[in-house]
């Protein structure tokens, strides 16, 4: 993406906007791949495969995604606190 940084004024702003939108979509999909990978192992890998995912498995997948995101938020918040404490009091 080095071409984005240097000569901003030369890049067609509409094109830049369009590419940014595609990047956001691609990032979303990359995250979905990542979550599906993790949550498949948690919710599906050890159960019997049927003609559709049963209600329980579906709920497990939903909870898995939600709790993973909660965890990310929680870790981020606590890490920020630790950094702030470190900045004022010295980190151990």
């Amino acid at each position: 993406m080095s071409n984005f940084g240097g000569n901003d004024e030369k890049v067609d702003p509409v094109l830049r906007q369009m590419i940014q939108e595609e990047q956001v979509k691609a990032q979303f999909q990359a995250q979905v791949h990542n979550f599906t990978d993790k949550c498949w192992d948690t919710c599906v890998a050890d159960s019997r495969l049927g003609n559709k995912l049963d209600y329980r498995t579906e709920a497990c997948l939903q909870n898995c995604v939600e709790r993973f995101l909660d965890t990310t938020i929680s870790v981020t918040n606590r890490f920020t606190q630790l950094l702030q404490r470190g900045a004022t009091g010295g980190m151990h």
Binding site: L15, I19, E22, V32, A45, G50, V65, E66
Partner: protein, 91 residues
């Protein structure tokens, strides 16, 4: 690919062509990622004792596993998208 140079003549054609290329490259990368994940997961799930060839039941298991993996992908995608919207609403 050089995103830095403005489109020749300033027409919108180059822009659309470029965007089509960007989109199809992303779509290809996305499909490759999905293929790789499904092969990985379904091999683990269906080929627990590799023999001299994939037998019938393994083939069936792989087909089923692929379908369920795509179901799971769609559920995860929906859940994540809903959550993103909810988080944006909080701001």
């Amino acid at each position: 690919m050089d995103f830095g140079s403005p489109p020749a003549g300033g027409s919108g054609v180059n822009r659309d062509e470029l965007m089509d290329q960007v989109k199809s490259q992303i779509a290809i990368a996305n499909a490759q990622e999905l293929l790789q994940k499904m092969s990985d997961k379904c091999f683990k799930k269906c080929v627990t004792k590799p023999g001299t060839s994939l037998d019938n039941s393994e083939q069936k298991c792989i087909a089923m596993c692929m379908d369920r993996y795509m179901d799971a992908w769609n559920i995860v995608s929906r859940t994540y998208s809903t959550r993103l919207q909810r988080e944006r609403g909080k701001l």
